[in-house]
Structure formats: C-alpha cells, structure tokens
Symmetry: C2
Subunit: 321 residues, 2 copies
Amino acid sequence: MFTPISTVTVFAPATVANVACGYDILGLAINAPGDEITVSLNRSGEITITEIRGDEGKLPLDPKVNSVTVAAQALWESCKEQYSDSWDNFGAEFIIDKKMPFGSGMGSSAASAVAGAYAANAILGSPLTKREVLPFAMLGEQAADGSYHADNVAPSLFGGISLVRSNQELDIIELPVPQDLWVTVVHPKIEILTKDARDILPKQVELGSASRQLGHLGGFIASLYTNDMALMQRSLQDEWIAPHRSQLIPAFSELQQAVMEQGALGFNISGAGPSVFALSQSQQQAQAIADSISSIWSDLNPSVYISTVNLDGAKVVKSEK
Amino acid sequence: MFTPISTVTVFAPATVANVACGYDILGLAINAPGDEITVSLNRSGEITITEIRGDEGKLPLDPKVNSVTVAAQALWESCKEQYSDSWDNFGAEFIIDKKMPFGSGMGSSAASAVAGAYAANAILGSPLTKREVLPFAMLGEQAADGSYHADNVAPSLFGGISLVRSNQELDIIELPVPQDLWVTVVHPKIEILTKDARDILPKQVELGSASRQLGHLGGFIASLYTNDMALMQRSLQDEWIAPHRSQLIPAFSELQQAVMEQGALGFNISGAGPSVFALSQSQQQAQAIADSISSIWSDLNPSVYISTVNLDGAKVVKSEK
C-alpha cells in the first residue's frame, strides 16, 4: 500500500430513466440509493481497485473493465498534460461501495461510471466541470452496458431532470424541476435480464403512435417550464414501452391502477425494470403510493425509495488531505 | 337577399405544420397569406354561401360540405339555447375570399375552417372564447381533410406556436414565441396530392429513430422556453418525414443545403408540401433565404411569404352594424 496523498469520497445517485414519456432520452435523479466511491491519490503509478462492497462478488476488480475505473482512467488520461511533471508516478486506489441493487432499472452502472469519473476529477482538485466530466462517465457506462446512452448518466452526474437531445452528440438539456415533485421508486426482488427487457420491445413503432408520443413528451417538457402539474399528469404516457415490457413486471396493471387511483402524476417502469416509479406532489402521497405497491408486491420483498428529485447529482461527501 | 343585421369580416392565417421536428403535433402561424371571410347576419333562417373568391371554382358552394360553413353551422347549433327567442329566423350569408393557395402545405383548409368558426362566433357577439371555438373549427377541418388533426387549426386560431399534446383530447399547449423568429415560406407552383404525400410515408419507424426524434422535439420545446436559438437549430431535425416526402419536392437537398449555409435555424417541408419553410433570426436572413429558394426554383414560379410568427391568429378585420 502506498501512502495516500489525499482521499476523497463521492456519491452518485440512482436515476429513473425514460420517465414514462421519454424512452432513452429522459432521466431524473433521486436522493437514494446510489454509489459511494472513495479514491486515494498515491505515488503507485497505477489505478487499482482495493475493494468492492455490496456487489455480492459480481463486479470485476480488474480496473481495465470495471466501469468506475474505466471512466476514471479515461478522465486521467485527458488531464495528463496539466500535471506533466508529477504525472508518471501518480496513482489511485478505489474503494467502491455499491449502495444500490444491480439490474434494478435504477441506473446502477451509470451511478458507478459517474462516481468513478467524478471521483477521478475530484482527487485532482476538480480541473474539469461536470459538463467536461460527462464524456468520461459515458465511457464507463458504455463499458458496463455496451451502449452509449446518457439517460441515466446525465441525471446522476448533474442531478435534476435531464433531456438527452442527442446521445450521439451528448447534447444534454437540464430541465427545470418543479417544487414539491416527489418520486417513489419500488424495487422488487426479481431479476430481469437487460437482454430480455430489450428483446421484448418492438423493433418499430407505428408512425401514428410515434407522433402521439411526441405530443406526450412535448407536453411533459412544457409542464416542467410552466409548473403545470395537470399537464404533467396528462403527458406522463407511454405508448411504446410499458405495453410490452410490463409483461416482465409482476402485477403491472394492478400496480398502475392502484397508484393512479391515489392521484399520482404518473406511473411506469423505471428504466428497463423491474423497479417501478411514480411521481406525485407530496411526501404523504409518495408514501401512500409506496405502501400500495409494497402491499401488492408483498411476496417480492420490495425495497422502497422516496425522495424529491435530487438536485445535486454527483457530489463530494468527504475529503481528507 | 335579406337585409343584413350586421356584418363582420375575419381573417385566419396560413400555418406551417410539423415544423421539422413535430410530425402532426406542432404548428405555427404566419402573417400572410390566409383566408378572409365576411359573414352577414340576417333573418333568412339559414346559412348560405353567397360567393367564393380565389378558389378557381374548386370549393363547394353547398354549405353542408364547405368546411367554412360546416364549422359555422356546428358552432351556431351549440349556441342556439342562448338565443332561443330570436334563433329560428337567424341566418347568415358567407363570402369566402381564399387569399391563399390550395394544396400548398400551408393549411388552407384549416384556415377556412378556423375563419368559418371564428366568423360565426364573431357575428353572434363572440359568446365563445377561442378555446371554445376550437372544436368547431376542427369539425370544419375534418370535413375538408377527413382527418382530425389540430396542427394547422390550432395555430391558425390562436396564433403563435402550438403543441398538440393530444389530437384526440384536443389538448393544445400554446408555446412561447422567441422575439425575432422569422419564417420564410416558399410555395412552388406544383401540385402534390395529399394522398401521395401520405402514401410515401413509412407506416412504421424504427424504435431508435422514434426515440431520437423525441430528443429533437424535446430540445425544440426547451429552446422556446429558454430562448436558446442554438439549441433550436440543433433540434429542428426530422428523421421520419423529409427523408421520404422530399422525393416529391423538386431539388429538396439543394434547397436545404443553400438555406442552411445561410445560417437558417432550420429548413423543411411545410405540412404535406410542396411548400418549404425556413426559420431564421432576422428579416434580412429570411429574405436572403427566400431569394436562394426562389433562385433554385426559378422554373416553378414560386410565391414567397416572409413574416415573424403571427401572434394574433384569427381576428376580426372589419365590423359593421
């Protein structure tokens, strides 16, 4: 072990992608769960992973394939010139604390990639802005997930509600977040393979349905800028994904009916599932919705997460010199 | 001829539907051309069309099928109760002045339907708000067009830029209009049958492309609320329609290249075509774009319309008692 020059602990939050009306281009951050990563700068000359907690042995310790260190390594490479004198013997040790479930539809790999890139930047004294950190987090997400999608990565990094105008161009718009917008996420203890969640989707959608979905997405974006919660409720619709993917989610229709009867603004699958989410306008409502879902899913040992939209995104939670 | 009790002349503007990124759910109004309709209230007990100007004999004089009077009649029916004493012998004569081309992609039938409904309301002393007039204008549009789409009707009635969250529910959102947003519309003297313009479209779109188009539409809506013209330029994209429908538009690629080289915010087909439109940020730019298009289309006797976005929509231009 090399003596650490400095140590930083960062947190990157879980996220809800798609948000009903924005398949692959919309995501929002919640306060918990998330990934906590501690990185220590040293003079070992290499990036290593010392420990991974809470992953049940599922994540690779090899820094060349772990999304945390893939993101961190790529960011460091780009910063080399600024630190040219001392760079050759700079190194870092990562401790990864997975404080959230895998394959839950809550952006676990994105949180890791974001935390990795953000920690790598923080330990250098934050030479890059969050916008500049984004492409490196994307590389980490790509390493884990195989695809290049920012709908989890962007909100985990920036916080709030992110619109991905273009994944290819990494054109991200941070949308306004209405006050008193509450998020309920419930994760049932079942596993859905991402491959199955993707294979169940149609390859194509009818042009008429495609157009109607534009209307819903447009309505949702407008509702955020105008704080029009009735419009938000009318807009949180999904013609493309839930009608198919809901087959993988136990009692989906029953959940939906129960949640909407409680006055939720919207209900749908979080990302690829199996977690589901609801938006509502008070903590009390968010809790009542969680209770309904937990009751219907009582056999599935559900975990419940209730929060407002997380406005911070990735952040330093501890720093030692 | 019955002696008129009062006479009102209204104008309803032409519109650009789709606006590149919002197929069937987005439209904006321009200042000219449009439809002008004069209605005189009398005691004939029936609604008639006295004269249609500028239609080259193409529009029906039968008030039961003309979209102007279909809309007007439906609105009157709904107002009957308020005027129960005098209603039975109320009648109206319409003079329709088509001040815009047919089948141009500029919302000719929508302008007629809007003008008809708006005039019918105005001559009664405007008992209904524009929102309340909308469904009657939709009936007129449906009579002419066979489909129930508000993407031309809404902006012609309200002015500005309209988002149709849902055609079925007639859920219309009036979007903010950035200052100094200029519209160039050029109409070539060719005819495209609406049927051909529809048949050339694919029945389905790839899910990935559908999702990317959500990103573009979302970016466009955000750009209006934030007055971010660079974002608007990145967002005015169309993966679904122009790649197919442009086959019906002479020299489309050449036009697009010329217009975008002049710094336009976007360029595309107006509605079903054959008119094309461009958005830009100054009158000078809008004119230069028009000149480029006219030059490339010099064989097609093009008509040019340049204006800011029309903020008034349908309006009374003359009123006599």
